[in-house]
């Protein structure tokens, strides 16, 4: 038995998007509740019907959210390990599994980001002596004293090696951000909508060579939520059902803490760490890369979009740079439009919730960069320490 086609995403909800630190006195818990209420409204389901909670990398557990929303009974609560967005799609797969197994009927997947001025994702190990907000740690001693402190730096090491092995060029990286900006310009909610050319890209400052400013995602506050129900229930609801064809999470056992320790084996070093998840995902869905109409790929850093295109088999290993530069991921004419909402690079960075919401929009036919007759969508979460995760959705 698998979760294939057993459940649907019936509703999606998002808060307003804020630049990091500009969500004022709204707590992360309130942001979660706002998104969940919006998702229930979208689905046409009473908030009190929620009996399951599924999240990832979020401190707002069911113990906080359920009473805040006056939920009468909780039958399922679960969170995916990890400190970033790698578990976003896994949280939806968990919701689907919980419903398929009979643990719960209406599971909400939710995640909020509200960054404090003293603890930014983009700074990670930047405190004196390193450490994720808890002072120095024995593990951080092996990286922070050498100035390796932030996610863009860690991923830039992988991108640099990919450039060396395969001849990937700076303009290939640039064309990722330029493409997603074109998509964001059609999305009224996107936070970065000014035109962006390759010249602008090359004029932008270097963050950690080979990555420039426009290779790096934004940092934002906000929240998103998705309502997962059985396929039978979804067919009785107003929105067009979006079926969860497949979900997968995990990765190579040695990917582990790869992003910080950088000890993954040579043969998987220049990947996004998604190859195993991709194989399992396509196997469950019974489709292949050629069947995907639109992909919403986690884009904290441009280069990791390239590597995901390779991990999911949209192009050969090493060929993602030219694949992107030739326009294959551009809406509306590319072979595989990617990040039709603008992605983390230009729309907003909410740890992957927005990628899942945009895939739902595509399959409902309501995206601002709608892929004509889109039937099957891929969503990914991470590159990150395992688990990374992904979903295949269909209408």
């Amino acid at each position: 038995m698998s979760i294939k086609d057993r459940t649907c995403i019936a509703g999606v909800g998002l808060t307003d998007y804020y630049k990091r630190g500009q969500s004022g006195d709204k707590s992360a818990l309130l942001l979660c509740c706002e998104a969940i209420i919006a998702a229930c409204e979208d689905a046409g389901i009473d908030v009190e019907e929620i009996d399951g909670f599924s999240s990832y990398a979020d401190s707002n557990s069911a113990a906080l959210v359920a009473p805040a929303l006056n939920i009468p009974e909780v039958r399922y609560s679960n969170s995916v390990w990890g400190g970033g967005g790698g578990g976003a799609c896994a949280a939806v797969a968990n919701a689907s599994a919980a419903i398929t197994a009979g643990f719960a009927n209406v599971v909400v997947v939710y995640h909020a980001i509200k960054q404090s001025p003293t603890s930014r994702f983009g700074q990670a190990f930047a405190r004196t002596g390193g450490g994720y907000g808890a002072g120095g740690t024995p593990g951080a001693d092996f990286i922070a004293p050498f100035g390796l402190m932030s996610p863009p730096q860690m991923f830039a090491l992988i991108v640099q090696r990919h450039m060396y092995e395969y001849g990937t060029q700076p303009e290939h990286l640039g064309s990722v951000g330029v493409t997603f900006r074109e998509h964001a310009r059609r999305n009224p909610k996107a936070l970065m909508r000014e035109p962006l050319t390759l010249d602008d890209y090359f004029a932008s400052r270097i963050i950690a060579a080979p990555l420039r400013l426009f290779d790096c995602c934004q940092e934002n506050d906000g929240a998103g939520a998705l309502i997962v129900v059985s396929a039978e229930r979804a067919r009785d609801l107003e929105p067009r059902p979006v079926y969860i064809m497949a979900g997968a999470q995990g990765g190579h056992g040695r990917w582990g803490e790869a992003i910080t320790d950088q000890q993954m084996p040579d043969e998987i070093y220049t990947t996004a760490g998604h190859a195993e998840v991709a194989r399992n995902l396509f196997q469950m869905a019974g489709v292949g890369p050629e069947d995907i109409d639109v992909a919403e790929l986690y884009d904290h850093f441009s280069g990791m979009v390239l590597l995901q295109l390779e991990d999911y088999g949209f192009c050969e290993r090493g060929e993602s740079g030219p694949f992107v530069a030739e326009g294959n991921i551009r809406w509306p004419d590319g072979r595989l439009p990617v990040n039709t909402h603008g992605g983390n690079l230009s729309e907003v960075y909410l740890h992957g919730t927005t990628h899942m919401v945009e895939a739902v929009r595509q399959l409902r036919g309501t995206s601002t960069a709608q892929v004509k007759d889109a039937e099957i969508a891929l969503v990914t979460a991470g590159p990150s320490p395992i688990p990374t995760s992904s979903l295949i959705l269909r209408r």
Binding site: P145, G147, L148
Partner: protein, 148 residues
């Protein structure tokens, strides 16, 4: 050739917090000996040190001295300071170095004597010890001439 002042990065980011698992590694560094953890049972090298062999799952692990020679596996050149104290040290590089006699292991470090535009993947390097605080010794690296 532009050679950076010592320390390569601010001394304040090099206050170490060793525990019982990592203390031996840093002790060997303070003796200016680059020693990498090796499984006594199967010979597997791993880094940073752990309490179990990541290959055969044995618990008996020891630090094995190395020559400190290696090659650059990949590197970045940091231009954006994620901590204000790093500002005066920009741009600085971070390199992953593969060690000649500890196969499969990479060390996060810096190549301290080479301008960014001259650093290359595959470049031979050797350990160049730096003592940002008395008794705290870090394994940074410098370019190594290879006589064939």
């Amino acid at each position: 050739m532009a050679t950076k002042a010592s320390p390569y990065l601010p001394a304040d980011i090099a206050h170490l917090n060793p525990d019982e698992i990592t203390q031996g590694y840093w002790d060997s560094c303070s003796r200016r000996e680059l020693a990498i953890q090796r499984c006594t049972a199967c010979g597997h090298f791993q880094h940073p040190p752990k309490q179990i062999c990541g290959s055969c799952r044995a618990f008996d692990l020891a630090l094995a001295p190395t020559s400190g020679r290696g090659k650059v596996f990949t590197f970045i050149v940091v231009h954006h300071p994620v901590h204000p104290a790093l500002g005066p040290h920009l741009p600085y590089n971070v390199a992953l170095v593969e060690l000649e006699d500890a196969p499969g292991v990479r060390i996060v470090t810096n190549v301290v004597d080479t301008p960014p535009e001259e650093i290359q993947i595959g470049m031979p390097v050797e350990v160049a010890w730096e003592e940002p605080h008395p008794g705290t010794v870090l394994p940074r690296f410098r370019r190594r001439e290879v006589n064939e």
